[in-house]
Amino acid sequence: MKFSLPLISKFSLLAILWASCASPAREAEKEQVVNLYSHRHYESDQRLYDLFTQQTGIKVNVVEASADEVVKRLEAEGANSPADLIITADVGRLTRAKDSGLLQPFASTVADGIVNPELADPDKMWYPITVRARVIAYSKERVKPESITRFEDLADPRWAKKVLARSSSNVYNQSLVASVLAHLGQEDGEKWVNGMVANFAREPKGNDRDQVKDIAAGVGDLALVNTYYMGLLANSDDPAEREAYEKVGIIFPNQTDRGAHINISGVGLTKHAPNKDNATKLLEFLLSPEAQIVLVQENYEYPVNGKVNDLGPFLMGLGEFVPDTYPLSKFGSYMNEATDLCNRAGWQ
């Protein structure tokens, strides 16, 4: 049978051939590389990778996606995955990757010397690179900061219709609820979530910045936010965002008991990492004061390297705080229960 392909499909076939050959990861086989699947997509990170390449000659290849998707890809690829490191913006996803058998231990005495053990995996499969605190933002006009000192206070009926939060599908909220479950136990944890949900000023929606803007707009008085986003707001090039920031204050909760809930951005070594040595070098570079200072000053995240003392004007302005020292690696086991709890409580 005569079957002549239209010109257009010949082009398409050529195109597919070209497309399937042009995988940058393979071109890079000869040179030294390290391959990342990352949930962090900041300009500062890219600059750090470039700096790392300059210093070591190791090229950094990155795929950026949400942490959950990154973990799914790693899982699907199995032993054939080209990825050496996964980078997430919260601890829950790292512990899940570990529990799914996707990680292996680093061998880095350098990292062990720098990182506080409570912030890292006891089996050394992941390390933190930065810390963010989840705090309570309050309206300077309508709330006396001394009237609220603990996360537990957000469930107090006196704050009915005053509390703002984003969706519980957000990992920072999930980790926060997991930490409360870890500390208070199932029953009191559930009471707390129910009480807080009853105090919501509106349905959960938007992102962290929107919660602050809604305080400024008078929708509510208190909100759950990350310190890191507060830094972005304070230094925004949008005058309305800076104005919103000016109208709120920050409370580090639970300063007299367990400490403020913190979360990390962290790096895990994949089980089948083809470039394990390079991956370890990159981890050690990211932990070095030189790299940490960039993350601190440009992204308003807290360093994990104690040698970095200059936190920049924003974080210095927030002042010192007592962090929760419960081992982060143990929150992971509460994550599923935390999301179930939020669903039951109607925290969308």
Binding site: M1, K2, F3, P6, S9, F11, S12, A15, A19, S20, S23, P24, A25, R26, E29, N35, H41, N61, V62, V63, E64, A65, D68, E69, V71, K72, R73, A76, E77, N80, S81, P82, R96, S100, R166, S169, Q174, R202, E203, K205, G206, N207, D208, D210, K213, A217, V219, Y229, L232, D237, D238, A240, E241, A244, N336, T339, D340, N343, R344, Q348
Partner: protein, 542 residues
């Protein structure tokens, strides 16, 4: 022997097995990733199922039905009304709107959600305008992050899917119907509702289904608005809880819901079918006078302003604002990548859809009908679900290649696999839009060609294609626009260091840097605008 085989055998004499097999192969490639995911329906129910069913499932379904059917209905209203106005009447800027109302399609759903929140949010332009003549404490800040506003926003950017085919119907040779109805003394409104609307129904509803599926696919906008739908539920169950069994059950609900709707629509339509006459004249537009003139203008202007101008304008404003801060270096790369992948993908999808649609013309069997219908399922499922199906496929193939001695990872993380995912997901768009073009071509052409002993390939390339180059390009452009806006597949499946405009927009938006996100978002809109205007020009040529 199964029914379809008997059917096939009966028609064997006239059958062209190579074409049939080609269609089967295409359907296989398109369906494989979907099938790999849906197979998990056989899994025992996941650990999260019972909890989610008892707590949030009712919300998911209610919200999904609200935004899905609401958006479907609203876009029919927006699309049919505006198409009717610009086709049948002349009023200020009516010709301009005939083209300009294609443009909302260039705006991705996740961007419209962000842009409107910004416009109506704290310190946004809506507030600023009120501030000009109102006291600061009496300023009204509507909370638009709710399911109903989201529905309206979806309809505002997606209604061109209805507008475009309806405009083609109203602009085609319907003059005789229209004039006959008018000469019988029917009022224009009655002519519209009882004569023209039934004629436009298949085209309008077909477009409406595209709108519905786009809505069901939106994740970013719904998540930002805090509207939990089955789609956000799939993400929650699968990605956050790692419960594939539950996620697939949600996905199956989406698929069956849409199939049910399609079936209902067919039932309601009954045997009525519209076939375009190739004779007769187009309707001569009537010049509107008085209030009607300004009402028609106002309606179209409203749709254009809220569906396109406001968002594009806001993005432009923000782009100018951040021009010194934006990392421009990567943008050229992203733009090229977006263009290249969307362009190649559109060509490939149109080619494959052409082959499949032509096979449908060659074989009038239930088998071909089923092949065509099922190959559209990918469009119903959220992109991320397809992505994971594609991952399963590509890693499986890689393992086989390795087992047979290949060294490097060949497929996973390559652009070829990304292209496969595009085809699997967007094949339906190409096919659905091509079928009407084929229907316009008289069957006598095929019969004459075959009688002269010409092969089907010859008939397709020499007899049919010359009749529809404009239509082919227009369909290609619609697919191109869809690929340009595509996010989840690209995000999950892309190679290292590979960025498109959509992934760059996502990266900034995910970091809550919405002003910076405006720059790549604006590029998506600009890249989509020119082809859309071209397609409008091509399709409105008489």
């Amino acid at each position: 022997m199964t029914d379809w085989l008997r059917h096939w055998n009966a028609k064997r004499k006239a059958a062209y097995p190579a074409w049939f097999l080609a269609a089967l192969l295409i359907a296989g490639v398109v369906l494989l990733p979907v099938a790999l995911v849906l197979l998990h329906l056989m899994d025992p129910e996941g650990p999260a199922w019972a909890g989610l069913r008892d707590t949030v499932l009712a919300d998911y379904v209610t919200n999904t039905v609200t935004v899905g059917l609401g958006g479907f209905a609203l876009s029919l209203v927006f699309g049919i009304s505006s198409a009717w106005l610009v086709s049948v009447y002349r009023f200020p800027l009516s010709r301009f709107f005939g083209h300009a109302l294609y443009l909302p399609l260039a705006i991705p759903t996740y961007i419209v959600a962000y842009a409107y929140s910004d416009v109506f949010g704290y310190g946004g332009p809506f507030e600023a305008v009120q501030g000009l003549f109102m006291a600061p404490d009496s300023i009204w800040r509507p909370d638009i992050k709710n399911p109903f506003a989201l529905t309206v926003l979806y309809a505002l950017v997606l209604f061109p899917y209805v507008f475009i085919p309806c405009k083609m119907v109203f602009g085609s040779r319907l003059g005789s119907y229209y004039e006959a109805a008018m000469s019988l003394g029917m009022k224009p409104a009655r002519v519209f509702f009882s004569v023209m609307l039934p004629l436009a129904r298949p085209a309008a509803v077909g477009g409406g289904f595209l709108v519905l599926m786009e809505i069901l696919n939106d994740f970013g906008g719904a998540k930002y608005f805090g509207v939990t739908t089955l789609t956000t539920g799939i993400f929650g169950a699968w990605f956050s809880k790692g419960d594939l069994g539950t996620a697939v059950r949600f996905a199956a609900m989406l698929v069956f819901g849409v199939l049910l709707l399609i079936w209902l629509e067919r039932k309601m339509r009954g045997r009525a079918a519209y076939t375009e006459k190739n004779t007769g004249t187009p309707i001569t537009p009537t010049r509107l006078v008085g209030a009607a003139r300004w009402l028609a203008f106002g309606w179209c202007a409203l749709l254009f302003f809220f569906g396109f101008a406001l968002v594009a304008g806001r993005l432009l404003f923000q782009t100018i604002w951040v021009r010194d801060k934006f990392p421009w270096a990567k943008l050229a790369d992203s733009t090229w990548n977006s263009f290249a992948m969307a362009g190649l993908g559109a060509m490939l999808i149109v080619t494959l859809a052409l082959l499949m649609a032509y096979n449908g013309r060659l074989h009038h069997s239930r088998a071909t009908l089923w092949i065509e219908r099922t190959s559209s399922i990918g469009y119903v499922l959220p992109g991320a679900v397809i992505a994971v199906g594609v991952l399963a496929l590509s890693t499986g193939l890689d393992a086989m290649l390795r087992a047979s001695g290949w060294q490097a990872a060949l497929l996973t993380g390559s652009l070829g696999i990304l292209m496969l995912a595009y085809v699997s997901r967007f094949f339906a768009v190409g096919l659905k839009q091509l079928e009407p073009a084929f229907e316009k071509i008289p069957r006598s052409r095929d019969e004459a060609g075959l009688a002269l002993g010409k092969s089907p390939g010859f008939i397709l390339t020499r007899l049919h294609l010359p009749l529809m180059p404009r239509h082919l390009i227009a369909v290609g452009i619609l697919v191109f626009i869809d690929l340009l806006k595509e996010l989840p597949l690209t995000l999950i499946l892309r190679p290292f260091n590979y960025h498109t405009l959509a992934t760059q927009t996502f990266a900034f938006a995910d970091n809550e840097m919405l002003r910076l996100a405006a720059v790549p978002a604006l590029c998506i809109v600009l890249c989509g605008m020119l082809p859309l205007l071209l397609s409008s020009a091509l399709l409105s040529k008489k």
